[in-house]
């Protein structure tokens, strides 16, 4: 069986992984990126809208263009970066400190790495309702992939479930693709995403029904509609059900971090609702309780590409440092400054609360008692 080796293994080639790789490779470390998808970029390549955040993190630039910027940065140190796309890390075996990976569906190999940065992003949540297994019920990520990566529209008229940023942005992108959005239903009494994103779809005539949820999908073989219902303060259905005509139901009710590899590596994990799931405890250098493992991006807590990129840089820098490479003095502090600035708003408050639970001062201090 083929066996590969590297100094720093980056698992996941999204915003966080690419930033980590660029940071580490520029300083001379040998980096290997493994990415499940056919191409690098992660969530970024599906985002046709302009990003928020600060200029340092390319605010005002469309998501897929940000992926291009990161790939270009990697060009300048490409001799240090080995890239495998269409390759999924399937496990980590601590007994022999080996990663297993699968390219396509038949080529299986192992990897030895001195350090690993887990930047595996997130998975979509789904909600139960009658008939949610009918063709035509999609996760928002799937809708974005078929529409923005492959140029195929998912249907003619969509009911969007969830008014977080993803539900709002995907609704807007659907309209850009010429698909009608019948309505957006949201269980909370307030849109969860940015108000400006809501305003943008509202003025295109899309109703956002707060305190509403989907009860069931209608149809035998394909979706012909959906029944929705109003909810009270306790999220219990009230009043009469209403019918929405649609041929697609798009679920955008949130993401949860992808962390299996970290669990396999024995990293101390913690369930943190503010970070949307189970995440690894880490110190401010993004090092986990297993000193060989670092984490960054959505895998360390659902946040934004802007923060994912800075966290990736922190993880890349710390992995370098722990391998004995010289690093620029004050750089880590600069990155933390940027993270803090990004997190100082309303949305960041929740993230900061979550972080106070998972952040450890310093693993050495913890390990030495």
């Amino acid at each position: 069986m083929k066996r590969l080796e590297t100094e720093i293994l980056v698992i996941g080639g999204g915003a966080a992984g690419l930033s980590a790789a660029a940071e580490a490779a520029a300083a001379g470390a040998k980096v290997m990126i493994l990415e499940s998808d056919l191409h690098l970029g992660g969530q970024l390549v599906k985002q046709t809208h302009k990003f928020f955040g600060s200029k340092d993190e390319y605010a005002g630039t469309r998501g897929f263009k940000i992926a291009d910027i990161l790939l270009k940065e990697m060009e300048s140190c490409k001799e240090n970066i080995e890239i495998h796309t269409n390759t999924t890390v399937t496990g980590y075996y601590s007994e022999d400190d080996t990663f297993t990976a699968m390219r396509d569906e038949d080529e299986f190999f192992t990897i030895k790495a001195d350090r690993a940065i887990v930047a595996t992003g997130a998975q979509e949540r789904l909600i139960p309702f009658v008939n949610n297994d009918l063709p035509g019920v999609y996760g928002a990520g799937a809708v974005q992939t078929i529409m923005n990566v492959y140029g195929v529209v998912p249907g003619k008229r969509v009911l969007m479930v969830g008014a977080g940023n993803i539900g709002l942005i995907v609704s807007y992108q659907l309209m850009q693709a010429g698909v009608e959005v019948a309505a957006i239903v949201e269980a909370a009494p307030k849109v969860g995403g940015y108000w400006v994103h809501a305003a943008k779809v509202r003025r295109m005539g899309v109703p956002i029904l707060l305190r509403h949820s989907i009860k069931r999908a209608l149809g035998d073989e394909i979706i012909t509609g959906a029944m929705i219902t109003e909810l009270n303060e306790r999220f219990e259905p009230v009043g009469e059900e209403k019918k929405i005509d649609c041929d697609v139901i798009c679920i955008a009710v949130g993401l949860t971090p992808t962390t299996e590899i970290l669990s396999q590596a024995g990293c101390e994990m913690m369930y943190v609702p503010e970070l949307c799931g189970n995440v690894a405890r880490r110190d401010s250098s993004m090092q986990t309780s297993n000193p060989k493992f670092f984490t960054a991006g959505d895998a360390s807590g659902i946040e934004e590409a802007s923060a994912a990129m800075v966290e990736g840089r922190v993880a890349g820098l710390s992995a370098l440092k722990s391998l004995g490479y010289p690093t620029e003095h004050g750089r880590l502090e600069e990155y933390w400054g940027r993270l803090q600035a990004l997190r100082s708003g309303e949305a960041g408050k929740r993230i900061c609360q979550g972080l106070t639970c998972v952040l450890t001062e310093d693993w050495e201090a913890v390990h030495n008692g």
Binding site: H49, K50, F51, F52, G53, S54, K55, A59, G60, R62, A163, M175, Q176, G178, P189, K190, V191, Y194, W195, V196, H197, A198, A199, K200, V201, R202, R203, M204, G205, V206, I208, L209, L210, E304, S306, A341, L342, R343, S344, G345, E346, A347, G348
Partner: protein
């Protein structure tokens, strides 16, 4: 929670708020080129409006989460912020266009693109059609496919008209 609050919570501006304050009437009515109208009432980590503004009319943020605060006396109506704002929350309205019409400069990222002279539907914040307008010009200030469509339409819609629909 009252209806007005519910409406605001679903993305409809119901009254002036911090980050969504109309230009002062006196300055606005005679200002050739128009003045910026910003509707961004929530603190979010975002600042391209301020960083793209060449005159400092949108005051530089001290914290990236600030809501935009505008010094309208410095605004030239250049529409750079209109094209840069990822929230499509900046508009320029020129009240000097004619006696009864104003020129509305609105961001547009949909298809099809209208052409000069074409009639388009004027939409309010809920997407309701409130009038018909005429496309006077189409620009692409940042050459990044966010267009700014200049539409002439009745002056009395300054508080309502925020988007267009192209009917082909």
């Amino acid at each position: 929670m009252d209806d007005k609050e519910m409406l605001f919570n679903s993305g409809i501006l119901t009254e002036e708020r911090e980050g969504a304050i109309l230009p002062p009437e006196e300055l606005w009515k005679n200002k050739k080129g128009g003045l910026v109208v910003v509707e961004c009432p929530q603190r979010i980590p975002c600042n391209p409006c301020a960083t793209s503004c060449p005159t400092g009319a949108i005051r530089p943020f001290s914290d990236i989460n600030d809501t935009p605060s505008v010094d309208h006396s410095k605004c030239t109506g250049c529409t750079l912020c209109v094209a840069s704002c990822p929230g499509l929350a900046c508009f320029v309205i020129d009240l000097t266009f004619s006696d009864d019409l104003a020129l509305y400069k609105l961001p547009y990222e949909m298809l099809p693109l209208p052409v000069k002279g074409e009639k388009v539907l004027c939409l309010d914040r809920e997407g309701k059609c409130i009038a018909e307008g005429t496309v006077e010009n189409i620009t692409q200030p940042r050459k990044d496919r966010t267009y700014v469509i200049h539409v002439s339409a009745p002056k009395n819609l300054v508080r309502e008209f925020r988007a267009i629909r192209v009917v082909k």
